[in-house]
């Protein structure tokens, strides 16, 4: 075990306790609206101890941790039952983007707040008509009196309700289409031109939001890159995460799996041979998910780009959705009953995992990406704005 991992493990042991005890294993996807206040406090705790941004270069207050160390960090966090990270969008997506493309002023202004666990970010990409077709962005940004004025709507914005800022991809060049003419802006949420409305999901929870922009503003200095660079920056941001948190996520999956096994033992469904086969296959899938993630990470460490990385999203999301179905079948008759009128953890898993195969690129889009980028098959034709009617 690396020094850093060891240190962090001890720190978790000594600090993830007391009032934070109730956060154990909570706030995973499907449960991200749990204990908002306490979770933000926990982030400040992590920040004060220097555990946010460990992978950032030291000149920006990071520890310059290697990929291996970051993986170890995530595994320790998950194995101690740490709650879903309220600050992960700022820490693992926006901060590396600012470090790579931002101005000195932006670095000085935004990195410290993220690092301290005091300023939270959400991602303004998707729109009602820019889902799978993400470049079909309609939200407009225009430069007036040295500030950007933003009008339009974002949707499926995770954690907007707990965030202080949003990074927004908007259309700046009049008449531009697709990937051209976009800007990448850093916008404060708490202002008169912005309204956030939670979306209640089929899981009964509300982690996703709509964000409305009606004359919202940010300074001209809050643009990363220039006009027309928005798409490039937006895509680069998605590439920064590199799967380091995947192994932590898998530990959460392993906990869920273990809970299902325990339930099957307790309620006797472990005697059902078909359930046993499904449990075994699910277990094999979980192991293989780990092996595949390690393969990709190690190849990346060596500087090789391998193609199996493209399958990560569709594989974990499909596996997880099946786990949800398995959980319900293991519950049997009890699956339909709400104790105390609320969904239990496995019922939430079952319902929320239907979104796993949709958000962050649907399984259908993932298959297009695999076919085109990993297998070199012909690209999908792009529509010219006309709609085919049946």
């Amino acid at each position: 075990m690396s020094d850093l991992r060891n240190k962090f493990s001890k720190w978790m042991e000594n600090n993830f306790c007391g009032e934070y005890e109730c956060l154990r294993g909570r706030a995973t996807p499907g449960d991200e609206d749990a204990f908002p206040g306490l979770r933000l406090k926990w982030e400040r705790e992590m920040g004060a101890a220097g555990w946010i941004g460990i992978g950032w270069p030291t000149e920006f207050g990071g520890k310059g941790a290697t990929l291996d160390e970051i993986v170890g960090f995530n595994e320790e966090y998950a194995s101690h039952g740490g709650p879903g990270r309220a600050g992960h969008i700022g820490e693992t997506l926006l901060a590396p983007t600012i470090i790579a493309f931002g101005t000195d002023q932006q670095k000085a202004r935004y990195l410290p707040g993220i690092k301290a666990g005091k300023e939270f970010w959400c991602q303004g990409y998707s729109e009602p008509n820019a889902g799978s077709d993400l470049s079909n962005i309609k939200t407009k940004a225009s430069l007036e009196n040295n500030q950007w004025v933003i009008n339009g709507q974002k949707i499926w914005t995770s954690l907007a309700m707990d965030s202080d800022y949003i990074f927004v991809v908007a259309r700046a060049a009049e008449g531009s289409k697709g990937r051209q003419g976009l800007v990448f802006l850093l916008v404060k949420l708490d202002q008169p031109g912005i309204e956030i409305r939670p979306i209640k999901q089929m899981s009964g929870t509300a982690e996703f939001n709509e964000v409305f922009f009606d004359g919202a503003v940010c300074s001209n200095e809050d643009i990363i890159g220039g006009v027309g660079d928005g798409w490039k920056i937006a895509m680069a941001l998605l590439g920064f995460e590199r799967g380091a948190s995947t192994l932590g996520q898998q530990m959460t999956f392993a906990d869920e799996f273990r809970q299902i096994v325990d339930l099957a033992k307790a309620n006797g469904s472990a005697k059902n041979p078909l359930i046993r086969q499904r449990i075994a296959k699910s277990y094999a899938g979980l192991k293989i998910m780990r092996f595949t993630a390690l393969r990709t990470l190690e190849a990346a460490e060596k500087g090789d780009t391998t193609k199996e990385g493209y399958i990560s999203k569709i594989f974990w999301s499909s596996w997880h959705r099946e786990l949800g179905e398995l959980a319900m079948d293991v519950m049997g008759k009890e699956a339909e009953i709400l104790k105390n009128g609320e969904y239990n953890k496995l019922q939430k898993l079952f319902l929320f995992s239907r979104s796993d195969t949709i958000y962050g690129g649907t399984n259908q889009i993932q298959r297009n990406i695999i076919a085109e980028r990993a297998l070199g098959m012909p690209k999908e034709p792009r529509g010219g704005g006309t709609v085919m009617k049946g």
Partner: protein, 353 residues
């Protein structure tokens, strides 16, 4: 270590791929073999062994082998799977080499390993300690073996003995099989006189668990190689086949099926590589997973490849049916996937219903 290949491994892959695809020749290689009524290409085996030094890839360099680990064998098996090459490496280069290397006495070890490395002799292993009966049903490559290693219970220890083919009383009955590129035979040693068995060593029961794990990894690697070849053929065919005025590869129905094939192949590959480098405590489980998963993946991918080729994929002339048949045959080796998953479930639940 999940991405463990060295330049040695990559070199083997390159050399073997050229050599075996040259033999495969768009399916003509396997076709020549089954039309000859044989299950084995002697010429290719001796070149594989002598020219390339691959029969003994896992034999220690002290005995003229390549001295590579399980991963070396994985590379060889992947390439054999991609060519359906009719040589008995799985058995001779696999469990037979491991048993002799690990338990045989010096003189036997030296003689047999050197000969195997040179391609002079071929063997199989019959796990006779598992039952009372002195026979082995559907043993792969038995019809081309020169000697047979048999494990048997003797005074509560397991002894491995060697029988030369041609020993009076030893019967090897080869069978007609659906997959014409790998033979299966029944081996019966019940009528062999006691003095004809040459004892070569003894071992604990766990030793044979490791031997099985190694074979499972090899079989799984063969599946990955075969499945990859099926996908490669499908990508090539669908990019050339034009219907409705465009290559059918441009249809999402085709692209998405190919993407699913790729997902299965890459996950199976991860499972195989992980099993090959697994530490001792994780070997049994990871090999079982690799084998169960990869045999199922190969079967699914080979079936999908036929579907995406349309009518041509269903013909005898086109070689896809050979991959499909091999993929089915592999499901029956070392236990069915459903049996593997049953074992896995028994371990997960810590019981045995």
């Amino acid at each position: 270590m999940a991405y463990p290949f060295s330049s040695d491994h990559e070199m083997i892959r390159e050399v073997l791929s050229d050599f075996l695809q040259n033999w495969y020749e768009n399916g003509k290689g396997p076709e020549r073999i089954y039309q000859s009524g044989k299950s084995f290409d002697e010429n290719i085996w001796s070149r594989f062994a002598e020219d390339l030094g691959m029969a003994g890839v896992a034999i220690s360099e002290d005995f003229g082998g390549g001295g590579l680990d399980d991963l070396g064998r994985v590379v060889v098996m992947e390439e054999l799977g991609a060519s359906l090459c009719a040589i008995p490496f799985l058995t001779t280069g696999g469990e037979v080499v491991d048993i002799i290397s690990k338990i045989a006495k010096n003189q036997f070890k030296e003689e047999y390993l050197q000969k195997i490395a040179k391609g002079k002799i071929k063997g199989i292993f019959c796990p006779g300690h598992l039952s009372e009966e002195k026979k082995c049903i559907n043993s792969a490559n038995a019809d081309t073996a020169d000697f047979i290693l048999i494990s048997r219970l003797k005074n509560k220890i397991i002894e491995v003995v060697c029988l030369k083919v041609g020993t009076p009383g030893l019967e090897i009955n080869s069978k007609k099989t659906i997959d014409p590129t790998r033979s299966f035979s029944d081996v019966d040693w019940s009528q062999v006189s006691d003095r004809d068995f040459l004892p070569i060593g003894t071992a604990e029961i766990n030793f044979f668990t490791d031997i099985i794990s190694q074979s499972q990894i090899s079989l799984a690697a063969e599946c990955v190689g075969g499945a990859q070849k099926c996908l490669d053929m499908t990508l090539e065919y669908t990019s050339q086949r034009v219907q409705f005025g465009r290559p059918i590869a441009s249809f999402q129905a085709i692209k998405h099926r190919c993407a699913d094939m790729f997902i299965l192949i890459e996950t199976a590959r991860s499972a195989v590589y992980a099993a090959a480098v697994a530490t001792k405590d994780k070997k049994t489980e990871s090999s079982l997973i690799a084998k169960a998963y990869a045999t199922e993946a190969f079967f699914k991918v080979a079936g999908d490849a036929i579907q995406l080729h349309g009518g041509i994929g269903f013909t005898w002339e086109y070689p896809l049916h050979l991959f499909f048949k091999r993929s089915r045959a592999n499901r029956s080796m070392f236990g069915m996937p459903s049996e593997d998953y049953k074992l896995l479930a028994d371990n997960i639940f810590g019981d045995k219903p």
